[in-house]
């Protein structure tokens, strides 16, 4: 015992002297210097990532404590597939067993009853070859074709779309070690007088309120709809004069959000952040051209948010276009000529050279022309040997992508999705926690960005003769690709990296690409208060790259004086600067939601919008706190035994006192 008496002596001395001297911080973690230190040593807070309760229009998915209270259960390790549980326990699970375990749980009510909670270890990722909790055809209800049996995601198990009435947490690297040690200790003391337990606090408001679908929980205000801010920009900026002679628009889109079993661990490196990085890099490459306004077509770049949860960003964008909202002032859906979407482009390098696939929407001649343009752009890249092929005709259509929203709106949309796969995802970790920077290749992304930048120049020139010198001068900044990977996909440096900090002051260093809940003004605002770090970075980056010099570059922190000017880098110390650019925020939330009288209402299915029937209307439950603690617990028999011993000692000493007193009075009475 670390000097039970000695530690107590130090404790007493420190305690007594708190009032007289300022406390000195101790660097040694093993010494306890106060009762709060003791409590901290007794109850260990475990660093972990929860899986939370999400609701849609017909039910719920995700994880939650089954009632209002915390769940306390002993930690048990499940090593083999067929291990059985004896009592309700907290199961410690290696990552490679996760898919099998959750599939087993959904089919085995006996096992389901004995699970109090699940803890998923963080290591063991090297032995996992493929892991995807999403379905084999993600978001298939939005597909514009009828062959829904094609498996775009063959590694998919679908476990993230099931409902679990127990808490599930993903552990970090260090907490995995701690919990493995505790589980081993539990195994060594089988007689059960001492057990290491895990205490799960994952009480969801929707469970407490008894609301089990989106409509009722929005009414009871126990949840909020998923959503965020999408960003679009125009290159070159749309000025008042160009509004009179509007050019046809080429839309270039990418997505910025991913999903995962655990909400705070949605990295999505290949799907879709590789596409986002390629888009940003292409914009950067094109921004060096001088005469964009002489081109025949207008380039509009859009980064949609919430695509993983029912294509919220793209569908809301199209709705805003139809309604002629302020957020899309300057463009009109009638002008959209072609759509080029950048999908997953991080794994295209095979046999040393990047190979991309263009999935065209339909067989229109415009789509075919787009593929030809891509191929001529790839030829112009020469020795870089970037190749583009049209996707296999055996595919039923476009893969799951924002293009599905465009096609759903207008079946004759001409467009294509650029991907790094042909018939099946090459990403074996789609929408899982393992889709990290190790899963992608920066040269693949750089190649995609170069391909797209040059193709866009050719497409925007339309029937004008192509100036080959200009075309060959379009070069991609490869170090920017690597820097963006470090910023958007790692915790160190994460969002504290140079390029991000030059535009925004991030709230968190670790980036997360989960869309989160929508808290801004539903009508849309150009100064959103709840836009997440990534959206704000994209807005500032695109505004900076598409800007032309402002007339008066003074420091600004909000609005700029002239119309058509926006303030870039407003959050940075020293303020930002006003530039002329057309970069706007567009809200991204379900088109079936309407905010009225301070409550969200779910609108009935709109027959004129074929995709509204497919929209699940995702919402996320509120919660009070989420936490995970582990500590050691004794059996109740032991507690009562201690109380009994205390009573016996008190009683025996009282007896001894009485006996002693009578003896002594006998001696005195001899007098």
């Amino acid at each position: 015992m670390g000097g039970g008496s000695v530690a107590s002596l130090i404790l007493a001395i420190a305690c007594v002297f708190q009032a007289f001297f300022p406390p000195v911080a101790s660097g040694d973690a093993a010494t306890l210097e106060s009762v709060p230190d003791l409590v901290k040593a007794m109850y260990i807070n475990v660093e972990s990532f929860p899986c939370v309760r999400l609701l849609n229009h017909s039910g719920q998915i995700g994880c939650s404590n089954p009632g209002h209270d915390k769940i306390i259960a002993p930690i048990v390790r499940l090593r083999n597939r067929n291990d059985q549980l004896v009592q309700p326990s907290a199961v410690l699970l290696p990552l490679d067993q996760m898919t099998d375990f959750f599939l087993r749980v959904s089919n085995d009510p006996e096992l389901y009853r004995k699970i109090a909670g699940v803890l998923v270890e963080a290591n063991g990722a090297d032995s996992v070859l493929e892991f995807s909790p999403d379905r084999k055809f993600p978001q298939q209800a939005f597909a514009p074709y009828s062959n829904l049996s094609h498996h775009w995601n063959p590694a998919g198990s679908g476990i993230m779309w099931n409902k679990y009435d127990f808490p599930v947490f993903l552990l970090s690297e260090e907490s995995t070690q701690t919990l493995q040690k505790l589980a081993d200790k539990n195994e060594k003391t089988p007689n059960g007088y001492l057990a290491n337990v895990a205490e799960f606090d994952l009480v969801m408001q929707t469970t407490k309120a008894g609301t089990h679908d989106s409509e009722s929980c929005l009414r009871e205000q126990s949840c909020l709809p998923l959503g965020g801010q999408s960003v679009w920009t125009s290159l070159p900026p749309i000025s008042n004069s160009s509004k009179k002679h509007q050019k046809p628009i080429i839309m270039v889109t990418a997505s910025q959000d991913s999903g995962s079993f655990f909400r705070d661990r949605s990295l999505g490196a290949d799907s879709p952040i590789s596409g986002l990085i390629a888009l940003l890099t292409a914009v950067d490459a094109l921004s060096h051209l001088h005469d964009m306004s002489n081109l025949k077509k207008q380039l509009v770049f859009a980064v949609f948010n919430g695509e993983a949860w029912g294509y919220l960003g793209s569908r809301k964008f199209l709705q805003e276009l139809d309604q002629g909202a302020d957020s899309v002032n300057g463009i009109s859906s009638l002008l959209i000529d072609q759509v080029l979407e950048i999908g997953s482009v991080g794994k295209a390098v095979s046999q040393g050279y990047p190979l991309f696939y263009a999935h065209a929407a339909g067989n229109s001649p415009i789509s075919k022309k787009m593929i030809d343009v891509l191929q001529s752009a790839s030829e112009s890249l020469g020795s870089d040997n970037v190749q583009v092929k049209p996707a296999a005709s055996s595919n039923p259509g476009v893969p799951p992508s924002s293009l599905m929203s465009f096609i759903g709106k207008n079946a004759s949309t001409s467009g294509l999705v650029l991907e790094d796969f042909d018939s099946q995802f090459s990403n074996r970790f789609y929408h899982s926690t393992l889709d990290g920077p190790a899963n992608i290749n920066s040269s693949s992304i750089a190649a995609a960005a170069a391909l797209i930048a040059r193709s866009l120049y050719i497409l925007a020139s339309a029937d004008l003769p192509i100036d080959l010198i200009t075309l060959n001068s379009i070069r991609v900044n490869v170090s920017m690709v690597e820097e963006l990977i470090e910023c958007l996909l790692k915790c160190d440096p994460g969002l504290s990296c140079g390029i991000v900090k030059s535009f925004i002051s991030p709230s968190n260093s670790c980036p997360s690409h989960y869309v989160g809940v929508f808290q801004d003004l539903p009508a849309g605002t150009q100064f959103p208060s709840y836009a997440d770090d990534i959206s704000r970075f994209i807005w500032n980056f695109l505004a900076d790259r598409t800007s032309s010099l402002a007339s008066n570059s003074s420091s600004c922190t909000g609005q700029c004086r002239d119309e058509g000017e926006i303030c870039v880098g407003a959050e940075v110390e020293g303020g930002g600067r006003c530039v002329v650019s057309t970069t706007r925020y567009v809200p991204a939330y379900s088109t079936r939601l309407k905010f009225e009288d301070n409550i969200w209402h779910v609108l009935p299915v709109n027959s004129s919008d074929p995709l509204s029937a497919a929209d699940p209307v995702w919402t996320e439950s509120f919660w009070n706190t989420i936490g995970l603690r582990v500590y050691a617990v004794q059996t109740t028999a032991y507690d009562w035994l201690v109380l009994l011993i205390g009573i016996i000692i008190t009683g025996a000493s009282y007896l001894a006192v009485i006996v002693g007193r009578s003896y002594i009075s006998k001696i005195i009475k001899r007098d």
């Binding site: 015992m1 670390g2 000097g3 039970g4 008496s5 000695v6 107590s8 002596l9 130090i10 404790l11 007493a12 001395i13 420190a14 305690c15 007594v16 002297f17 007289f20 001297f21 000195v24 101790s26 660097g27 040694d28 010494t31 210097e33 009762v35 003791l38 409590v39 040593a41 007794m42 306390i72 001492l194 500590y631 050691a632 617990v633 004794q634 109740t636 032991y638 507690d639 009562w640 035994l641 201690v642 109380l643 009994l644 011993i645 205390g646 009573i647 000692i649 008190t650 000493s653 009282y654 001894a656 006192v657 009485i658 002693g660 007193r661 002594i664 001696i667 005195i668 001899r670 007098d671």
Partner: protein, 249 residues
């Protein structure tokens, strides 16, 4: 561990103190005052000690000899305080005796003096138990228990309570022996209290060794039993002699 266990640990540490208080001290208000005064004395001695030792704490080196120095100086200081306490008691005894003479009531008899020393010792013991055990006991009322790495057989709170109990007995009864020693000028009694205090304190160092608490804690209980037995024998002898003298005179 819940309320039952927390209460159990509190009773293990302070149960005998409660019994002695209820059975002996509470009957005479003067003894209650003595108890409170001696508690205060002990606390003040602790404050002064911490003032001196604050500069050197926390002891970050893993060696055990700094703790030996800490214990030696603390025990020496507290034994010094005991002597001061004795002097104050002597002065007070003179005042009480002269007051009794003035109002022609009997002076303090031997049992009174022994009861006062008992209350004094109990004050020391209660202060030790409250400070070193009760102040740590709040987490024991919660759900979790705590086992220190170096003592994995017994829970931390149990060891703490047993040590507090041991020292309570030692402080209470060695005070009676010490006061008797100062009164009768008996060397063996005078030396008994510091020696027992020192041996018991140094024995707690055994808890620093891995699983040393299994040996250290029972040994401490042995020391308190020895103190109790010595004190009982001394009291019996003294009271019997006193009666004989009174009888013979």
């Amino acid at each position: 561990m819940t309320v039952a266990a927390g209460l159990g640990y509190a009773l293990i540490a302070l149960g005998p103190a409660l019994s002695i208080f209820a059975g002996v001290v509470a009957r005479k208000p003067f003894l209650v005052l003595t108890l409170l005064t001696s508690t205060l004395f002990w606390l003040i001695s602790l404050i002064i000690l911490s003032g001196i030792w604050r500069v050197f704490l926390p002891i970050t080196s893993g060696a055990w000899w700094p703790y030996v120095i800490l214990i030696l100086t603390s025990v020496a200081f507290q034994e010094g305080i005991r002597l001061v306490f004795w002097r104050l008691y002597k002065k007070m005894e003179e005042m009480l005796d002269s007051f009794a003479d003035r109002i022609s009531k009997p002076r303090l008899c031997l049992t009174d003096k022994m009861l006062i020393s008992l209350a004094g010792g109990l004050g020391h013991g209660v202060a030790h138990a409250v400070f070193f055990c009760l102040s740590l006991l709040t987490p024991a009322f919660g759900r979790a228990t705590f086992y220190v790495e170096r003592c994995s057989r017994m829970p931390f709170f149990l060891i703490s309570a047993v040590i507090a109990l041991g020292f309570l007995v030692i402080h209470t009864f060695s005070m009676i022996v010490a006061f008797n020693g100062y009164d009768e000028r008996k060397r063996s009694d005078q030396v008994f209290a510091p020696v027992v205090h020192l041996i018991a304190s140094v024995m707690t160092l055994m808890n620093l060794a891995p699983d040393g608490c299994v040996i250290g804690t029972p040994l401490l209980c042995v020391m308190s039993a020895v103190t109790l037995q010595y004190c009982w024998r001394m009291v019996w002898q003294r009271l019997s002699e006193h009666q004989h003298r009174q009888f013979n005179s």
